[in-house]
């Protein structure tokens, strides 16, 4: 009987394995679906939640320090990546050119302490945020791992229904 059961399960195993691989790595730390963009900070950062307006000020460089006095270091992904397009559309409401001009002028006037760092991949962004206590960046929800902390935006996590930062696959917007 036991042998019969094993023989019956055996052909199903590859199918199960293929299905698991297709599903990808396990979702960690409350990360959202692959359509959401998570705002991540260093785990030592005491801030858990941030209003969308404050997030916009942080990304614009208008807010340059965390409440504990540590300087904010913004890190962004390279242009043309879908997560960056979401950030440009939802947070900045700007094109790449406008963003570039904004930071040139901001640094020039002294109103912005530093332009964002730009990195090529989610892994590099995670490493940077892990290593810099005042860093803030963004990655896809599925790219979050325990080395970083997800910041709630208006009390919402990337999994939540009304979370604003989502990749719109067929959007013609920037």
């Amino acid at each position: 009987m036991r042998r019969t059961l094993l023989v019956a399960i055996f052909p199903v195993l590859p199918v199960l394995l293929a299905g698991m691989l297709a599903l990808g790595p396990p979702v960690l730390n409350g990360a959202g679906s692959d359509q959401s963009v998570a705002i991540i900070v260093n785990p030592s950062n005491p801030v858990e939640n941030c209003s969308f307006e404050d997030l916009r000020k942080i990304f614009m460089g208008e807010k340059s320090h965390w409440p504990n006095g540590r300087r904010i270091t913004l890190v962004m992904l390279d242009p043309a990546q879908p997560e960056r397009k979401v950030v440009l559309r939802e947070i900045y409401n700007m094109s790449e050119k406008d963003l570039n001009n904004h930071f040139i002028q901001g640094v020039f006037t002294g109103g912005v302490l530093a332009p964002p760092k730009t990195l090529a991949s989610a892994a590099e962004v995670r490493k940077f945020v892990f290593n810099v206590p005042g860093a803030i960046g963004y990655v896809k929800g599925t790219d979050v791992d325990p080395s970083v902390k997800i910041l709630r935006i208006d009390g919402r996590l990337p999994d939540d229904k009304d979370y604003r930062l989502r990749v719109q696959a067929h959007s013609g917007k920037p």
Partner: protein
């Protein structure tokens, strides 16, 4: 006597050995090939598992670091990152001492020195009597910033500029050591642009950043006949005021003020001051959350001027503005009053304003500016400005993200002189 190995191996054993070798030749390469051509799914699995191992090792290392904070002596190299933690990025390797030492990580994000350049060249002509068309070198501005530490930063503008005698000189237009404690307290010492109104601290010495060819008459630089103390040497305190959605900010400045003893004196008192009195300036502005790009504010400046042969003059400058700046639209409105009160004598008021509007259509940005300044003929400090007002119409074309071409027509009217019409074509760039 003949010797042979063959007799040592029986015929049966020989057959078995040959068969084994053959199988070996056939099977081993096949296995190697099979290893090389392992299914992609296996590779993905291995990669995913390795990634997962990396993640878990990083997490373990982080937890270990949190449990064992290692205080460091000042000047000592900080604790290295956990062995399996994500490696610092190559270009950012130098570690930075964290106050209190311990678990927190250790990447230096300072930019030791960064230089951005701005420049411009203009071809201009007008129907003013005695003038000629000319190609003019504009300012070559090297804007240098450096993060000295997390709290200290250096900012400077070094400008190479030709004067009306065609000789080129160098000016340190801004040189500031900034200390940034938090969003509410930022102290800067050095030479700065006085925070009078909006325009003076929004554009500084860059034609490329400005929509129009030049600055409004009110905000002309001192060495171009400007009537404001554009530059000052001293200390400036600025920051946000906790005000919720109103977005209030303050600026308080104290400095040497401008030179006044002689019209030929260098207007900015870089090293010595003519007197012990200091110029003070206070500005307040709001950037309300409700309207993106809106900024409204005012400033008040006070100084005492001591021209030779004239009693002391109290100088007060009041400015109020409302600007709306969005990537494709701008509307700048600013009004200003300069009041010179001669001790025991008259008070001379010089009002002025400008309004500028522009809208971008792709790389094209047409703009319009109207400006006005009206100085009393008896004004003791600037008797030659008088009344000047008129429109400017122009088109800016951004050829690339770093090069702009501007074509501008100006008509300027005076109190008792004929109007002047002028055209300017400017190439402005950043690099």
């Amino acid at each position: 006597m003949r010797f042979s190995v063959w007799p040592l191996i029986s015929t049966r054993k020989l057959g078995t050995t040959v068969l084994g070798l053959l199988l070996g030749f056939l099977v081993v390469p096949a296995m190697l090939c099979a290893e090389d051509a392992a299914p992609d799914s296996d590779k993905e699995t291995i990669r995913a598992l390795l990634h997962r191992v990396d993640q878990l090792e990083a997490r373990v290392a982080q937890l270990e670091a949190q449990q064992k904070p290692a205080p460091q002596a000042p000047g000592q190299a900080p604790a290295s990152a956990p062995t399996h933690a994500p490696a610092p990025i190559a270009s950012e390797l130098a570690p930075e001492q964290e106050p209190g030492g311990g678990m927190e990580q250790r990447m230096d994000t300072r930019t030791l020195m960064q230089i951005r350049g701005f420049g411009d060249m203009t071809f201009h002509g007008s129907d003013a009597h005695g003038t000629h068309t000319a190609f003019s070198l504009g300012q070559l501005n090297l804007f240098v910033t450096s993060d000295i530490s997390e709290k200290f930063r250096l900012l400077s503008e070094i400008v190479f500029e030709a004067d009306p005698t065609n000789s080129v000189g160098v000016d340190v237009e801004r040189l500031l050591l900034q200390y940034s404690l938090n969003d509410y307290f930022n102290l800067a010492v050095g030479r700065y642009h006085t925070d009078i109104g909006f325009y003076n601290t929004a554009y500084h010495h860059s034609a490329w950043l400005q929509t129009a060819v030049g600055r409004p008459l009110l905000f002309q630089f001192e060495d171009n006949g400007g009537i404001l103390p554009i530059h000052n040497v001293g200390a400036s305190l600025s920051g946000a005021i906790p005000s919720g959605r109103l977005g209030l900010h303050y600026v308080a400045e104290v400095g040497n003020g401008r030179a006044s003893s002689s019209p030929s004196a260098e207007p900015v008192q870089n090293v010595v001051d003519e007197n012990n009195g200091k110029a003070v300036n206070f500005a307040l502005f709001a950037r309300p959350n409700a309207v993106r790009g809106l900024q409204v504010g005012f400033s008040a400046y006070h100084d005492s001027l001591h021209p030779v042969g004239i009693p002391t003059i109290g100088e007060n400058i009041y400015d109020a503005y409302a600007v709306l700046q969005r990537p494709s639209f701008e509307w700048l409105n600013e009004a200003l009053l300069i009041r010179h009160a001669v001790k025991g004598g008259h008070v001379f008021d010089t009002p002025g304003f400008y309004s500028q509007v522009s809208k971008a259509f792709g790389p094209y940005r047409p703009y319009f500016r109207y400006q006005y300044v009206n100085e009393s003929p008896q004004e003791p400090m600037f008797p030659f400005v008088g009344l000047q007002h008129g429109p400017s119409v122009g088109l800016r074309y951004d050829a690339t993200e770093a090069v702009a071409l501007k074509l501008q027509y100006d008509r300027t009217m005076f109190r008792q002189e004929p109007s002047v019409n002028g055209v300017q074509l400017q190439f402005a760039f950043t690099f």
